[in-house]
Protein backbone atom coordinates (compact mmCIF):
# COMPACT_ATOMS: atom_id res chain seq x y z
CA UNK A 1 0.00 0.00 0.00
CA UNK A 2 1.42 3.36 -1.01
CA UNK A 3 0.55 6.54 0.84
CA UNK A 4 -2.45 8.49 -0.42
CA UNK A 5 -1.65 11.58 -2.51
CA UNK A 6 -3.95 14.58 -2.63
CA UNK A 7 -3.97 16.36 -6.02
CA UNK A 8 -5.22 19.87 -5.38
CA UNK A 9 -6.95 22.33 -7.70
CA UNK A 10 -7.15 19.96 -10.65
CA UNK A 11 -9.42 20.80 -13.59
CA UNK A 12 -12.57 18.73 -14.06
CA UNK A 13 -12.81 17.50 -17.64
CA UNK A 14 -16.56 17.00 -17.86
CA UNK A 15 -18.45 20.12 -18.96
CA UNK A 16 -17.59 23.54 -20.35
CA UNK A 17 -17.31 25.00 -16.81
CA UNK A 18 -13.87 23.30 -16.42
CA UNK A 19 -14.05 23.78 -12.64
CA UNK A 20 -10.45 24.20 -11.50
CA UNK A 21 -10.81 23.63 -7.77
CA UNK A 22 -11.11 19.84 -7.76
CA UNK A 23 -9.24 17.85 -5.14
CA UNK A 24 -8.55 14.22 -5.98
CA UNK A 25 -7.24 11.59 -3.58
CA UNK A 26 -5.08 8.94 -5.22
CA UNK A 27 -3.91 5.78 -3.50
CA UNK A 28 -2.20 2.74 -5.04
CA UNK A 29 -2.44 4.38 -8.46
CA UNK A 30 -6.23 4.60 -8.24
CA UNK A 31 -8.55 7.52 -7.67
CA UNK A 32 -10.21 6.96 -4.31
CA UNK A 33 -12.14 10.17 -3.72
CA UNK A 34 -13.09 13.34 -5.60
CA UNK A 35 -13.91 16.51 -3.70
CA UNK A 36 -15.65 19.72 -4.83
CA UNK A 37 -16.80 18.27 -8.18
CA UNK A 38 -20.50 17.98 -9.00
CA UNK A 39 -22.12 14.55 -9.39
CA UNK A 40 -21.44 14.56 -13.16
CA UNK A 41 -17.79 15.56 -12.84
CA UNK A 42 -17.15 13.22 -9.95
CA UNK A 43 -18.58 10.28 -11.90
CA UNK A 44 -16.34 11.14 -14.87
CA UNK A 45 -13.18 11.39 -12.75
CA UNK A 46 -13.94 8.23 -10.74
CA UNK A 47 -14.49 6.39 -14.04
CA UNK A 48 -16.41 3.25 -14.91
CA UNK A 49 -16.14 0.13 -17.11
CA UNK A 50 -13.66 0.62 -19.97
CA UNK A 51 -13.09 -0.96 -23.35
CA UNK A 52 -10.31 -3.39 -22.48
CA UNK A 53 -8.63 -4.06 -25.82
CA UNK A 54 -8.46 -2.78 -29.37
CA UNK A 55 -10.91 -4.68 -31.58
CA UNK A 56 -11.44 -5.28 -35.29
CA UNK A 57 -14.73 -6.54 -36.68
CA UNK A 58 -14.39 -9.91 -38.40
CA UNK A 59 -17.41 -11.73 -39.84
CA UNK A 60 -19.71 -9.29 -38.04
CA UNK A 61 -18.07 -9.73 -34.62
CA UNK A 62 -15.59 -7.41 -32.86
CA UNK A 63 -12.44 -9.47 -32.16
CA UNK A 64 -9.55 -8.39 -29.89
CA UNK A 65 -6.42 -7.22 -31.74
CA UNK A 66 -3.11 -5.52 -30.97
CA UNK A 67 -2.92 -1.72 -31.06
CA UNK A 68 -0.67 -1.89 -34.15
CA UNK A 69 -3.18 -4.12 -35.98
CA UNK A 70 -5.93 -1.64 -35.12
CA UNK A 71 -3.81 1.33 -36.31
CA UNK A 72 -3.01 -0.48 -39.57
CA UNK A 73 -6.66 -1.38 -40.17
CA UNK A 74 -7.77 2.20 -39.40
CA UNK A 75 -5.12 3.59 -41.78
CA UNK A 76 -6.23 1.16 -44.48
CA UNK A 77 -9.86 2.30 -44.12
CA UNK A 78 -8.89 5.99 -44.28
CA UNK A 79 -6.61 5.47 -47.28
CA UNK A 80 -9.26 3.52 -49.19
CA UNK A 81 -11.89 6.21 -48.60
CA UNK A 82 -12.45 8.98 -51.14
CA UNK A 83 -13.90 11.28 -48.47
CA UNK A 84 -13.56 10.16 -44.84
CA UNK A 85 -15.23 12.03 -41.98
CA UNK A 86 -13.20 12.62 -38.80
CA UNK A 87 -15.77 13.55 -36.17
CA UNK A 88 -15.97 14.26 -32.44
CA UNK A 89 -13.04 15.98 -30.64
CA UNK A 90 -15.07 17.70 -27.89
CA UNK A 91 -13.95 15.42 -25.05
CA UNK A 92 -10.25 15.28 -25.70
CA UNK A 93 -7.34 17.71 -25.52
CA UNK A 94 -6.31 20.43 -27.97
CA UNK A 95 -3.06 18.52 -28.50
CA UNK A 96 -5.08 15.53 -29.80
CA UNK A 97 -7.13 17.90 -31.98
CA UNK A 98 -3.90 19.15 -33.62
CA UNK A 99 -2.94 15.58 -34.51
CA UNK A 100 -6.44 14.96 -35.84
CA UNK A 101 -6.21 17.96 -38.16
CA UNK A 102 -2.86 16.66 -39.41
CA UNK A 103 -4.46 13.26 -40.13
CA UNK A 104 -7.47 14.87 -41.86
CA UNK A 105 -5.14 16.89 -44.12
CA UNK A 106 -2.99 13.85 -44.82
CA UNK A 107 -5.87 11.54 -45.86
CA UNK A 108 -7.99 14.30 -47.41
CA UNK A 109 -11.00 14.15 -45.12
CA UNK A 110 -13.61 16.37 -43.48
CA UNK A 111 -13.05 17.22 -39.83
CA UNK A 112 -16.11 18.16 -37.81
CA UNK A 113 -16.82 18.50 -34.11
CA UNK A 114 -19.82 17.80 -31.90
CA UNK A 115 -20.55 21.53 -32.08
CA UNK A 116 -22.56 20.75 -35.21
CA UNK A 117 -25.20 19.01 -33.09
CA UNK A 118 -24.85 21.48 -30.25
CA UNK A 119 -23.75 25.12 -30.45
CA UNK A 120 -22.94 25.02 -34.20
CA UNK A 121 -25.63 27.67 -34.83
CA UNK A 122 -24.00 29.80 -32.12
CA UNK A 123 -20.64 29.50 -33.87
CA UNK A 124 -22.25 30.68 -37.13
CA UNK A 125 -24.18 33.47 -35.40
CA UNK A 126 -20.99 34.66 -33.70
CA UNK A 127 -19.16 34.65 -37.06
CA UNK A 128 -21.96 36.87 -38.44
CA UNK A 129 -22.16 39.36 -35.58
CA UNK A 130 -19.15 38.99 -33.29
CA UNK A 131 -19.34 38.16 -29.61
CA UNK A 132 -19.51 40.83 -26.89
CA UNK A 133 -17.88 38.37 -24.49
CA UNK A 134 -16.28 38.25 -21.08
CA UNK A 135 -14.59 35.75 -18.81
CA UNK A 136 -16.68 33.87 -16.27
CA UNK A 137 -14.60 35.66 -13.62
CA UNK A 138 -15.87 39.03 -14.86
CA UNK A 139 -19.45 37.76 -14.64
CA UNK A 140 -18.86 36.45 -11.12
CA UNK A 141 -17.25 39.68 -9.91
CA UNK A 142 -19.46 42.20 -11.67
CA UNK A 143 -22.77 40.96 -13.08
CA UNK A 144 -25.86 42.26 -11.28
CA UNK A 145 -28.31 41.06 -13.95
CA UNK A 146 -28.14 37.62 -15.55
CA UNK A 147 -30.37 36.08 -18.23
CA UNK A 148 -30.44 32.33 -18.86
CA UNK A 149 -32.11 31.77 -22.24
CA UNK A 150 -32.97 28.21 -23.33
CA UNK A 151 -30.50 26.64 -20.93
CA UNK A 152 -30.72 24.75 -17.67
CA UNK A 153 -27.36 24.95 -15.91
CA UNK A 154 -28.88 23.68 -12.65
CA UNK A 155 -28.89 20.25 -14.32
CA UNK A 156 -26.41 20.48 -17.21
CA UNK A 157 -23.67 22.64 -15.59
CA UNK A 158 -24.41 22.07 -11.90
CA UNK A 159 -21.67 24.33 -10.43
CA UNK A 160 -22.11 27.20 -12.91
CA UNK A 161 -24.49 29.19 -10.72
CA UNK A 162 -22.41 28.93 -7.55
CA UNK A 163 -18.96 29.39 -9.11
CA UNK A 164 -19.60 31.87 -11.90
CA UNK A 165 -23.10 33.25 -12.21
CA UNK A 166 -26.41 33.69 -10.35
CA UNK A 167 -25.39 32.54 -6.88
CA UNK A 168 -21.66 33.33 -6.92
CA UNK A 169 -20.11 35.96 -4.64
CA UNK A 170 -17.44 38.16 -6.22
CA UNK A 171 -15.50 41.35 -5.62
CA UNK A 172 -18.37 43.69 -6.51
CA UNK A 173 -21.13 41.14 -6.01
CA UNK A 174 -20.64 40.20 -2.39
CA UNK A 175 -24.34 39.77 -1.74
CA UNK A 176 -24.35 36.85 -4.21
CA UNK A 177 -27.83 35.76 -5.31
CA UNK A 178 -29.53 38.44 -3.16
CA UNK A 179 -27.80 41.24 -5.05
CA UNK A 180 -28.66 39.99 -8.52
CA UNK A 181 -31.68 39.99 -10.81
CA UNK A 182 -32.08 36.65 -12.56
CA UNK A 183 -34.28 36.23 -15.63
CA UNK A 184 -34.93 32.80 -17.18
CA UNK A 185 -36.49 32.40 -20.63
CA UNK A 186 -37.56 28.88 -21.59
CA UNK A 187 -40.47 26.88 -22.98
CA UNK A 188 -40.86 24.92 -19.75
CA UNK A 189 -40.17 25.27 -16.04
CA UNK A 190 -36.77 23.90 -15.03
CA UNK A 191 -34.63 23.76 -11.91
CA UNK A 192 -32.93 26.91 -13.24
CA UNK A 193 -36.23 28.76 -13.69
CA UNK A 194 -37.12 28.00 -10.06
CA UNK A 195 -34.12 30.14 -9.05
CA UNK A 196 -35.26 33.12 -11.16
CA UNK A 197 -36.74 36.45 -10.14
CA UNK A 198 -38.63 36.43 -13.42
CA UNK A 199 -39.44 33.37 -15.51
CA UNK A 200 -40.72 34.02 -19.02
CA UNK A 201 -42.30 31.04 -20.74
CA UNK A 202 -42.27 31.43 -24.50
CA UNK A 203 -43.99 29.40 -27.22
CA UNK A 204 -41.51 26.87 -28.72
CA UNK A 205 -39.82 28.28 -31.83
CA UNK A 206 -40.65 31.92 -31.02
CA UNK A 207 -37.20 32.95 -29.71
CA UNK A 208 -36.50 35.16 -32.73
CA UNK A 209 -39.77 37.06 -32.37
CA UNK A 210 -39.35 37.55 -28.62
CA UNK A 211 -35.77 38.81 -29.04
CA UNK A 212 -36.94 41.19 -31.81
CA UNK A 213 -39.66 42.56 -29.52
CA UNK A 214 -37.09 43.12 -26.76
CA UNK A 215 -34.82 44.93 -29.23
CA UNK A 216 -37.71 47.24 -30.18
CA UNK A 217 -38.48 47.95 -26.52
CA UNK A 218 -34.81 48.56 -25.64
CA UNK A 219 -34.60 50.97 -28.62
CA UNK A 220 -37.65 52.90 -27.35
CA UNK A 221 -39.86 51.72 -30.20
CA UNK A 222 -42.36 49.86 -28.02
CA UNK A 223 -45.29 51.39 -29.90
CA UNK A 224 -44.57 48.92 -32.70
CA UNK A 225 -44.68 45.85 -30.42
CA UNK A 226 -47.96 43.88 -30.40
CA UNK A 227 -49.79 43.10 -27.14
CA UNK A 228 -48.37 39.59 -27.09
CA UNK A 229 -45.25 38.09 -28.68
CA UNK A 230 -44.34 34.40 -28.49
CA UNK A 231 -46.88 33.85 -25.71
CA UNK A 232 -45.42 36.70 -23.59
CA UNK A 233 -47.42 39.83 -22.77
CA UNK A 234 -46.06 43.20 -23.88
CA UNK A 235 -46.10 44.30 -20.22
CA UNK A 236 -43.78 41.43 -19.26
CA UNK A 237 -41.49 42.16 -22.20
CA UNK A 238 -41.38 45.86 -21.29
CA UNK A 239 -40.55 44.90 -17.71
CA UNK A 240 -37.62 42.74 -18.88
CA UNK A 241 -36.36 45.40 -21.28
CA UNK A 242 -36.37 47.94 -18.42
CA UNK A 243 -34.50 45.50 -16.14
CA UNK A 244 -31.87 44.88 -18.82
CA UNK A 245 -31.36 48.58 -19.48
CA UNK A 246 -31.04 49.29 -15.76
CA UNK A 247 -28.28 46.70 -15.26
CA UNK A 248 -24.86 47.90 -14.21
CA UNK A 249 -23.30 44.78 -15.74
CA UNK A 250 -25.50 42.25 -17.48
CA UNK A 251 -24.76 38.79 -18.81
CA UNK A 252 -26.78 36.56 -21.13
CA UNK A 253 -26.10 32.82 -21.12
CA UNK A 254 -27.80 30.81 -23.83
CA UNK A 255 -28.22 27.11 -24.53
CA UNK A 256 -29.58 24.53 -26.90
CA UNK A 257 -33.15 25.70 -26.31
CA UNK A 258 -32.36 28.57 -28.66
CA UNK A 259 -29.79 26.94 -31.01
CA UNK A 260 -31.91 23.85 -31.72
CA UNK A 261 -35.20 25.70 -32.23
CA UNK A 262 -36.73 27.24 -35.33
CA UNK A 263 -34.45 30.00 -36.56
CA UNK A 264 -31.30 28.31 -35.22
CA UNK A 265 -28.29 30.53 -36.08
CA UNK A 266 -30.58 33.48 -36.83
CA UNK A 267 -31.80 33.29 -33.21
CA UNK A 268 -28.21 33.68 -32.07
CA UNK A 269 -27.55 36.46 -34.57
CA UNK A 270 -30.57 38.32 -33.16
CA UNK A 271 -29.59 37.68 -29.53
CA UNK A 272 -26.10 39.03 -30.21
CA UNK A 273 -27.64 42.15 -31.75
CA UNK A 274 -29.78 42.62 -28.62
CA UNK A 275 -26.68 42.37 -26.42
CA UNK A 276 -24.70 44.73 -28.67
CA UNK A 277 -27.56 47.27 -28.48
CA UNK A 278 -27.82 46.92 -24.69
CA UNK A 279 -24.24 48.16 -24.57
CA UNK A 280 -25.58 51.59 -25.59
CA UNK A 281 -27.30 51.66 -22.20
CA UNK A 282 -25.14 49.53 -19.96
CA UNK A 283 -22.33 46.97 -19.99
CA UNK A 284 -23.64 43.66 -21.33
CA UNK A 285 -21.93 40.40 -22.28
CA UNK A 286 -23.14 37.13 -23.77
CA UNK A 287 -21.88 33.54 -23.70
CA UNK A 288 -22.96 30.15 -25.06
CA UNK A 289 -23.26 27.41 -22.41
CA UNK A 290 -20.81 25.00 -24.03
CA UNK A 291 -21.50 21.38 -23.12
CA UNK A 292 -18.55 19.01 -23.57
CA UNK A 293 -15.50 20.23 -21.71
CA UNK A 294 -13.32 21.01 -24.74
CA UNK A 295 -15.83 21.65 -27.51
CA UNK A 296 -14.51 25.20 -27.35
CA UNK A 297 -10.96 23.91 -27.78
CA UNK A 298 -11.51 22.02 -31.02
CA UNK A 299 -13.11 25.19 -32.40
CA UNK A 300 -10.06 27.22 -31.38
CA UNK A 301 -7.52 24.73 -32.77
CA UNK A 302 -9.43 24.34 -36.05
CA UNK A 303 -9.80 28.11 -36.38
CA UNK A 304 -6.09 28.86 -35.94
CA UNK A 305 -5.08 25.90 -38.14
CA UNK A 306 -7.55 26.26 -41.01
CA UNK A 307 -9.35 29.56 -40.54
CA UNK A 308 -12.67 27.83 -39.77
CA UNK A 309 -14.11 26.69 -36.44
CA UNK A 310 -15.91 23.46 -37.46
CA UNK A 311 -17.06 21.36 -40.46
CA UNK A 312 -13.76 21.84 -42.34
CA UNK A 313 -13.36 19.97 -45.63
CA UNK A 314 -9.73 19.13 -46.41
CA UNK A 315 -10.52 17.05 -49.53
CA UNK A 316 -9.87 19.94 -51.93
CA UNK A 317 -6.23 20.54 -51.09
CA UNK A 318 -7.09 23.55 -48.93
CA UNK A 319 -9.58 24.07 -46.11
CA UNK A 320 -13.18 24.69 -47.19
CA UNK A 321 -16.10 25.49 -44.87
CA UNK A 322 -19.76 25.59 -45.73
CA UNK A 323 -22.02 24.29 -42.95
CA UNK A 324 -25.09 22.70 -44.49
CA UNK A 325 -22.72 21.13 -46.99
CA UNK A 326 -19.61 20.15 -45.01
CA UNK A 327 -21.19 19.42 -41.60
CA UNK A 328 -21.19 15.81 -40.42
CA UNK A 329 -24.97 15.40 -40.40
CA UNK A 330 -25.35 16.82 -43.91
CA UNK A 331 -22.53 14.68 -45.32
CA UNK A 332 -24.01 11.52 -43.79
CA UNK A 333 -27.59 12.33 -44.77
CA UNK A 334 -26.41 12.81 -48.38
CA UNK A 335 -24.27 9.63 -48.16
CA UNK A 336 -21.37 11.89 -49.17
CA UNK A 337 -18.69 10.28 -46.97
CA UNK A 338 -17.43 6.73 -47.34
CA UNK A 339 -15.67 6.14 -43.99
CA UNK A 340 -15.71 7.71 -40.54
CA UNK A 341 -13.36 8.08 -37.61
CA UNK A 342 -15.30 8.95 -34.45
CA UNK A 343 -13.18 10.14 -31.53
CA UNK A 344 -14.26 11.19 -28.03
CA UNK A 345 -17.91 11.38 -29.06
CA UNK A 346 -20.98 9.21 -29.50
CA UNK A 347 -22.26 10.08 -32.96
CA UNK A 348 -24.77 7.25 -33.11
CA UNK A 349 -26.62 8.47 -30.01
CA UNK A 350 -26.55 12.14 -30.89
CA UNK A 351 -27.38 12.18 -34.59
CA UNK A 352 -30.90 11.88 -36.01
CA UNK A 353 -31.76 8.23 -36.55
CA UNK A 354 -31.51 8.34 -40.36
CA UNK A 355 -28.16 10.12 -40.10
CA UNK A 356 -26.86 7.47 -37.68
CA UNK A 357 -28.10 4.78 -40.08
CA UNK A 358 -25.79 6.20 -42.75
CA UNK A 359 -22.86 5.42 -40.44
CA UNK A 360 -23.92 1.78 -40.38
CA UNK A 361 -23.36 1.61 -44.13
CA UNK A 362 -19.70 2.74 -44.08
CA UNK A 363 -16.55 1.57 -42.26
CA UNK A 364 -16.30 3.24 -38.84
CA UNK A 365 -13.22 3.63 -36.63
CA UNK A 366 -13.91 4.50 -33.00
CA UNK A 367 -11.37 5.95 -30.55
CA UNK A 368 -12.85 6.20 -27.05
CA UNK A 369 -12.17 5.05 -23.49
CA UNK A 370 -15.73 3.77 -23.17
CA UNK A 371 -18.15 1.56 -25.06
CA UNK A 372 -21.16 3.51 -26.31
CA UNK A 373 -23.78 2.98 -29.05
CA UNK A 374 -21.21 4.04 -31.69
CA UNK A 375 -19.21 0.92 -30.70
CA UNK A 376 -22.10 -1.24 -31.93
CA UNK A 377 -21.57 0.03 -35.49
CA UNK A 378 -17.77 0.29 -35.46
CA UNK A 379 -15.37 -1.84 -37.49
CA UNK A 380 -12.26 -0.82 -35.56
CA UNK A 381 -12.39 0.10 -31.87
CA UNK A 382 -9.33 1.62 -30.18
CA UNK A 383 -9.49 2.25 -26.42
CA UNK A 384 -7.73 5.39 -25.20
CA UNK A 385 -6.54 6.93 -21.96
CA UNK A 386 -8.87 9.59 -20.51
CA UNK A 387 -7.68 13.12 -21.20
CA UNK A 388 -7.76 15.20 -18.03
CA UNK A 389 -7.58 12.15 -15.78
CA UNK A 390 -4.86 9.91 -17.22
CA UNK A 391 -3.29 12.33 -19.71
CA UNK A 392 -2.46 16.02 -19.40
CA UNK A 393 -3.36 18.53 -22.06
CA UNK A 394 -5.06 21.84 -22.85
CA UNK A 395 -8.77 22.60 -22.84
CA UNK A 396 -10.82 25.77 -23.41
CA UNK A 397 -13.51 26.78 -20.92
CA UNK A 398 -16.87 28.03 -22.23
CA UNK A 399 -15.60 31.62 -21.98
CA UNK A 400 -12.54 30.88 -24.15
CA UNK A 401 -10.05 30.64 -21.28
CA UNK A 402 -7.38 27.96 -21.87
CA UNK A 403 -6.71 25.74 -18.85
CA UNK A 404 -4.20 22.96 -18.32
CA UNK A 405 -5.65 19.51 -17.66
CA UNK A 406 -3.67 17.48 -15.11
CA UNK A 407 -2.67 13.85 -15.21
CA UNK A 408 -3.99 12.28 -12.02
CA UNK A 409 -3.15 8.59 -12.49
CA UNK A 410 -1.16 6.38 -14.88
CA UNK A 411 -2.91 4.43 -17.61
CA UNK A 412 -2.03 1.33 -19.59
CA UNK A 413 -3.91 2.81 -22.55
CA UNK A 414 -2.32 5.13 -25.13
CA UNK A 415 -3.48 8.75 -25.30
CA UNK A 416 -5.66 10.01 -28.16
CA UNK A 417 -2.56 11.80 -29.46
CA UNK A 418 -0.53 8.56 -29.46
CA UNK A 419 -3.32 6.68 -31.25
CA UNK A 420 -3.71 9.35 -33.92
CA UNK A 421 0.05 9.41 -34.48
CA UNK A 422 0.03 5.59 -34.68
CA UNK A 423 -2.61 5.75 -37.42
CA UNK A 424 -0.77 8.56 -39.20
CA UNK A 425 2.52 6.62 -39.19
CA UNK A 426 0.68 3.61 -40.59
CA UNK A 427 -0.81 5.82 -43.31
CA UNK A 428 2.72 6.93 -44.29
CA UNK A 429 4.02 3.35 -44.19
CA UNK A 430 1.17 1.94 -46.29
CA UNK A 431 1.52 4.75 -48.82
CA UNK A 432 5.24 4.06 -49.10
CA UNK A 433 4.61 0.32 -49.55
CA UNK A 434 2.04 1.01 -52.28
CA UNK A 435 4.49 3.41 -53.98
CA UNK A 436 7.28 0.80 -53.82
CA UNK A 437 5.00 -1.88 -55.30
CA UNK A 438 3.98 0.47 -58.09
CA UNK A 439 7.60 1.42 -58.85
Amino acid sequence: MSEAIMIKDAVCSFCGCLCDDINVEVEDGKIQRVRHACRLGSSKIMGHARIQSPMIRKNGVLVASSFQEAYDKAAKILLAAAKPLLYGWASTSCEAAKKGILLAEEVGGVLDSTATVCHGPSVIGIEEKGLPGATLGQVKNRADTIVFWGCNPAEAHPRHSLRYSSNSCGKFTQEGREGRKIIVVDVRETKTSKNADKFIRIIPGSDYEVISALRMLVAGKGDNVPDEVGGVSKADLADIAATLKAAKFGAVFFGLGITHSRGRYKNIDNALSLVAELNSHSKFVVMPMRGHYNVGGIGQVLAWSSGYPMSVDFTRGGPYFNPGETAACDLLARRDVDAALIIAADAVSNFPRATAEALAGIPVIQIDPYENPTTLLSDVVIPSAIAGVEVEGTAYRMDGLALRLRKMVDSSFPSDEDILMGILESVHKQRQLAANEGA
Binding site: H48, R57, G60, D112, T116, V117, C118, G120, P121, I124, V187, R188, E189, T190, S193, R201, P204, G205, L256, G257, T259, H260, S261, R262, R264, Y265, M310, S311, P323, G324, T326, A327, A328, C329, D330, A333, V348, S349, N350, F351, P352, R353, A354, T355, A356, E357, A360, P363, V364, Y370, E371, N372, P373, T375, L376, L377, S378, D379
Partner: protein
Protein backbone atom coordinates in the same frame (compact mmCIF):
# COMPACT_ATOMS: atom_id res chain seq x y z
CA UNK B 1 -23.70 2.06 -22.15
CA UNK B 2 -24.58 2.77 -18.50
CA UNK B 3 -28.16 1.58 -17.75
CA UNK B 4 -28.66 4.65 -15.55
CA UNK B 5 -28.00 7.02 -18.46
CA UNK B 6 -30.40 5.25 -20.75
CA UNK B 7 -33.04 5.06 -18.02
CA UNK B 8 -32.66 8.83 -17.66
CA UNK B 9 -33.10 9.63 -21.36
CA UNK B 10 -35.66 7.02 -22.52
CA UNK B 11 -38.46 9.01 -20.90
CA UNK B 12 -41.17 11.36 -22.04
CA UNK B 13 -42.29 14.19 -19.75
CA UNK B 14 -45.96 15.21 -20.07
CA UNK B 15 -48.07 17.86 -18.32
CA UNK B 16 -50.29 16.63 -15.50
CA UNK B 17 -53.41 17.25 -17.62
CA UNK B 18 -52.04 15.37 -20.66
CA UNK B 19 -50.84 12.55 -18.42
CA UNK B 20 -54.35 12.19 -17.03
CA UNK B 21 -56.19 12.60 -20.34
CA UNK B 22 -54.09 9.82 -21.90
CA UNK B 23 -55.14 7.55 -19.01
CA UNK B 24 -51.53 7.10 -17.88
CA UNK B 25 -50.16 6.04 -14.52
CA UNK B 26 -46.55 6.00 -13.26
CA UNK B 27 -44.50 3.39 -15.10
CA UNK B 28 -46.83 3.27 -18.14
CA UNK B 29 -45.38 3.85 -21.59
CA UNK B 30 -46.28 6.17 -24.43
CA UNK B 31 -45.84 5.72 -28.18
CA UNK B 32 -44.61 8.84 -30.00
CA UNK B 33 -44.96 9.09 -33.77
CA UNK B 34 -44.17 11.60 -36.45
CA UNK B 35 -43.08 11.66 -40.09
CA UNK B 36 -39.56 10.56 -39.15
CA UNK B 37 -40.28 7.53 -36.98
CA UNK B 38 -41.88 6.14 -33.86
CA UNK B 39 -40.54 5.28 -30.43
CA UNK B 40 -41.83 3.98 -27.11
CA UNK B 41 -40.81 5.82 -23.94
CA UNK B 42 -41.66 5.70 -20.25
CA UNK B 43 -44.20 8.40 -19.37
CA UNK B 44 -43.39 10.87 -16.59
CA UNK B 45 -45.64 13.52 -15.10
CA UNK B 46 -44.07 17.00 -15.09
CA UNK B 47 -45.89 19.85 -13.36
CA UNK B 48 -43.57 22.37 -15.07
CA UNK B 49 -44.70 21.52 -18.60
CA UNK B 50 -47.54 23.30 -20.38
CA UNK B 51 -50.29 21.16 -21.93
CA UNK B 52 -49.79 19.73 -25.44
CA UNK B 53 -45.99 19.81 -25.06
CA UNK B 54 -43.72 16.89 -24.26
CA UNK B 55 -40.07 16.98 -23.24
CA UNK B 56 -37.64 14.16 -24.08
CA UNK B 57 -33.98 14.41 -23.04
CA UNK B 58 -31.58 14.43 -26.01
CA UNK B 59 -30.38 10.93 -26.86
CA UNK B 60 -30.87 7.97 -29.19
CA UNK B 61 -34.57 7.51 -28.36
CA UNK B 62 -35.48 11.17 -28.99
CA UNK B 63 -33.42 11.10 -32.19
CA UNK B 64 -35.76 8.53 -33.75
CA UNK B 65 -38.19 11.47 -34.09
CA UNK B 66 -35.65 13.95 -35.54
CA UNK B 67 -35.26 14.50 -39.30
CA UNK B 68 -32.03 14.97 -41.21
CA UNK B 69 -32.72 18.50 -42.50
CA UNK B 70 -30.26 21.09 -41.15
CA UNK B 71 -31.57 24.25 -42.76
CA UNK B 72 -28.17 24.94 -44.27
CA UNK B 73 -26.45 25.38 -40.91
CA UNK B 74 -25.31 21.81 -40.23
CA UNK B 75 -27.47 21.35 -37.14
CA UNK B 76 -30.61 19.19 -37.31
CA UNK B 77 -33.92 20.59 -36.08
CA UNK B 78 -33.91 18.90 -32.66
CA UNK B 79 -36.58 20.98 -30.93
CA UNK B 80 -40.13 22.12 -31.59
CA UNK B 81 -41.08 18.95 -33.47
CA UNK B 82 -44.69 17.88 -33.89
CA UNK B 83 -45.47 14.39 -32.57
CA UNK B 84 -48.55 12.27 -31.89
CA UNK B 85 -48.62 10.75 -28.42
CA UNK B 86 -50.68 7.74 -27.27
CA UNK B 87 -50.60 5.35 -24.33
CA UNK B 88 -49.20 1.94 -25.21
CA UNK B 89 -48.53 -1.44 -23.66
CA UNK B 90 -45.43 -1.90 -25.85
CA UNK B 91 -42.11 -2.00 -23.99
CA UNK B 92 -39.30 0.58 -24.21
CA UNK B 93 -36.53 -0.90 -26.34
CA UNK B 94 -33.14 -1.19 -24.68
CA UNK B 95 -30.14 0.31 -26.44
CA UNK B 96 -29.15 -2.86 -28.29
CA UNK B 97 -32.74 -3.47 -29.41
CA UNK B 98 -33.02 0.15 -30.54
CA UNK B 99 -30.07 -0.31 -32.90
CA UNK B 100 -30.68 -3.94 -33.86
CA UNK B 101 -30.69 -4.35 -37.61
CA UNK B 102 -28.47 -1.30 -37.90
CA UNK B 103 -25.24 -2.97 -36.76
CA UNK B 104 -22.18 -3.19 -38.99
Amino acid sequence: MSPDFFKAVAICHLSEKDFKSLGLSEGRNVLLKNEFGQVVLTAKKDAGLPDSMVFIPMGPWANVLVGTETGGCGTPHFKGLEVEVAATNSPVLNIRELFSGMGA
